[in-house]
């Protein structure tokens, strides 16, 4: 009897020791649909109108952009050349590059001589000034974007620094820093629902003095009427699904710091047929951990699996089986 009790205790302890401790950080739910006032009873999905690449149309558009856009000063009086890959067409004039993705129509305009280098004589600009400049540029130069769909997200900076390295101590001194560029980022929003991911956003690039030096626009055309309207599950349910999925993970702890709800859009080179709502759950395993972002179908709660991966190379000399110390093979105690 005693042996059986001891055996059951070991089994119980082993099982509980293996369970990961899952915590939701303070503020993790600030972007949950309930907090954003999204009606989960009727969430639409949208069909993406397929983009058809038309070389002549894009050449005309490139000429128009290069001749009128204030970011295209570097191209004045320069001949426009183009090169094409299976993914994009790139027009160049001087240090200016204007590219269009052949799968999505996403465009990028950039004065490369002023991107990520830094210019002298800059004075720090306030976020309000940068937003003012950016909003005016969007109104005047970005086409096909409804103002109610555009949501300011953040101002990012590219910072530069340089310092002297002591050959003995290897300590750095005489450090100076400066802003190379400001990047004003807008995210698409459909109704109250934000679009998450690499697509459906606009980035405006500014010099340290606040001059626009380029933009990126990944913005798919959507069919006006939803392809379906269905109820989505709530955040509580996604928390339960997440916890059940990760409880058996062989790690000590999982800290969830992002629970977001929105449409998932892929990047500039990815064809996409529909915009569907997802839950985006971001978590880390500890201080040296990447932030893992998992996606769940917001209608069903089903985990969206990563794509199949390619096989890697084998070592030229067959490796011995990695040695695992005994203590790591034993279950971890709580």
């Amino acid at each position: 009897m005693k042996t059986l009790a001891a055996f059951l205790a070991i089994v119980f302890l082993s099982a509980s020791a293996r369970a990961a401790s899952i915590k939701f950080a303070e503020g993790a739910l600030k972007d949950s649909p309930e907090n954003l006032g999204i009606d989960l009873g009727a969430v639409p999905s949208y069909e993406v109108a397929p983009y058809k690449f038309d070389r002549t149309r894009e050449e005309t558009r490139a000429r128009e952009v290069i001749s009128r856009n204030p970011a295209a000063q570097a191209a004045k009086g320069r001949a426009i050349t183009s090169r094409e890959t299976d993914e994009e067409i790139v027009f160049s004039a001087g240090s200016l590059e204007y590219s269009v993705s052949k799968t999505t129509g996403a465009e990028a305009l950039l004065d490369l001589a002023r991107y990520a280098v830094g210019e002298k004589g800059e004075q720090a600009l306030a976020e309000s000034q940068l937003r003012q400049i950016a909003e005016r540029y969007v109104r005047e130069h970005i086409t096909g974007v409804g103002p109610d769909e555009l949501r300011f997200l953040s101002v990012k900076r590219i910072m530069n620094a340089v310092g002297k390295l002591d050959p003995q101590s290897k300590q750095v001194s005489e450090v100076s820093t400066s802003v190379a560029n400001y990047i004003v980022v807008y995210q698409r929003q459909i109704g109250k629902i934000p679009v998450l991911g690499s697509g459906e956003n606009i980035r405006l690039y500014l010099s340290p003095n606040g001059e626009i030096i380029g933009h990126s626009k990944v913005w798919r055309d959507l069919r006006k009427d939803p392809v379906s309207v269905k109820p989505a599950i709530g955040t509580d349910q996604i928390r339960r699904i997440f916890t059940e999925r990760h409880q058996p993970d062989p790690v000590q702890q999982i800290v969830v710091d992002q629970v977001r709800f929105g449409y998932l859009a892929y990047g500039r080179y990815s064809r996409q047929e529909t915009l569907k709502p997802v839950y985006w759950v971001g978590f880390t395993y500890g201080p040296s951990s990447k932030r893992v972002i998992e996606l769940y179908d917001a209608y069903t709660g089903q985990f969206i699996r990563p794509p199949e991966e390619e096989p890697g190379d084998r070592r030229p000399v067959s490796p011995l089986r990695p040695r695992v110390p005994l203590r790591e093979r034993l279950p971890r105690l709580p």
Binding site: V117, L153, S154, V162, G163, G267, V292, G312
Partner: protein
């Protein structure tokens, strides 16, 4: 030798010294990535997109005319490949990590003081779940310490968290630059980076711009990160014998540049903020 030939030769040598460039030549490319940490006895936590990052990177670099030497993943991606083989601790940077010109590593990573720790898998000769910058001697030229197997590495891409910290980067990478004159440039992330469907294309996008479109490393790296997830903050660091050279290397270096052999009395770095 005619005067004309002599002049051309002189100008060529001058150009090589001043600009440190040669016509773009094919680089040897390597990549190591781990998602399945539990499978190699490490409890760091499994990931899902590191192998995609690495495979897309080597594939695009090959498309752009460079030569893939290896891509090792999971149990075949060893921490020892970034540890100096001459230290006597089981390092295998020769014949692996330091035998390519550009190496991409994707997995977990962190900082401990002025030491960067990267996480790949254990191997039979290096029984540790991480490697760190106190044991990395990458790109050593002949006559430098531990150079009985000189290192080839010029460009290192660390798709991990905290690989190029905005405050610690000079303390972490300065000593590594001093140990290897060939190592010119480290690209990575400042703070936490994402393992996500929205970031798995960052290294491919970098390769597209740096290798196919001849963009500078800095533009290609920052653009790739900006394009795939707005939360991620990229960072990079380069070196120079003088302040101006360090800045020029940071801002203008391309894949075709060859090392000048100068000591890194200055470092220049950059990062995304916000």
């Amino acid at each position: 030798m005619t005067t004309r030939v002599r002049t051309v030769l002189l100008f060529s040598i001058f150009g090589l010294i001043v600009f440190g460039t040669v016509p773009a030549a094919a680089l040897l490319v390597g990549a190591e990535s781990v998602e399945n940490y539990s499978g190699c006895g490490c409890s760091t936590g499994d990931l899902s997109y590191c192998n995609d990052q690495a495979s897309k990177f080597v594939s695009k670099m090959s498309d752009c005319g460079h030569q893939k030497k290896f891509w090792y993943k999971n149990g075949n991606a060893w921490n020892s490949d970034l540890v100096e083989d001459q230290l006597g601790v089981g390092g295998t940077d020769y014949p692996y990590g330091d035998t390519v010109h550009i190496l991409l590593v994707s997995g977990h990573g962190g900082l401990s003081g002025s030491t960067y720790l990267g996480y790949l898998c254990k191997s039979s000769n290096y029984n540790s779940c991480n490697y760190d910058t106190t044991r990395t001697y990458l790109g050593e030229q002949a006559a430098q310490a531990y150079s009985s197997h000189p290192g080839s590495l010029r460009f290192l891409i660390l798709c991990t968290c905290h690989s190029v910290d905005k405050n610690k980067a000079p303390d972490v990478w300065g000593p590594v630059f001093w140990r290897g004159k060939n190592l010119q440039y480290v690209m990575g992330y400042c703070g936490v980076s994402a393992d996500s469907i929205t970031t798995d294309e960052v290294p491919r996008d970098f390769a597209r711009k740096a290798a196919c479109s001849n963009w500078t490393l800095k533009r290609a790296w920052f653009w790739a990160i900006e394009d795939w997830l707005v939360d991620d903050t990229g960072a990079l660091i380069s070196r120079g014998a003088t302040r101006d050279e360090a800045i020029r290397n940071r801002d203008e270096m391309k894949l075709g540049w060859v090392p000048t052999g100068a000591d890194p009395y200055w470092v220049a770095w950059a990062w995304h903020e916000g």
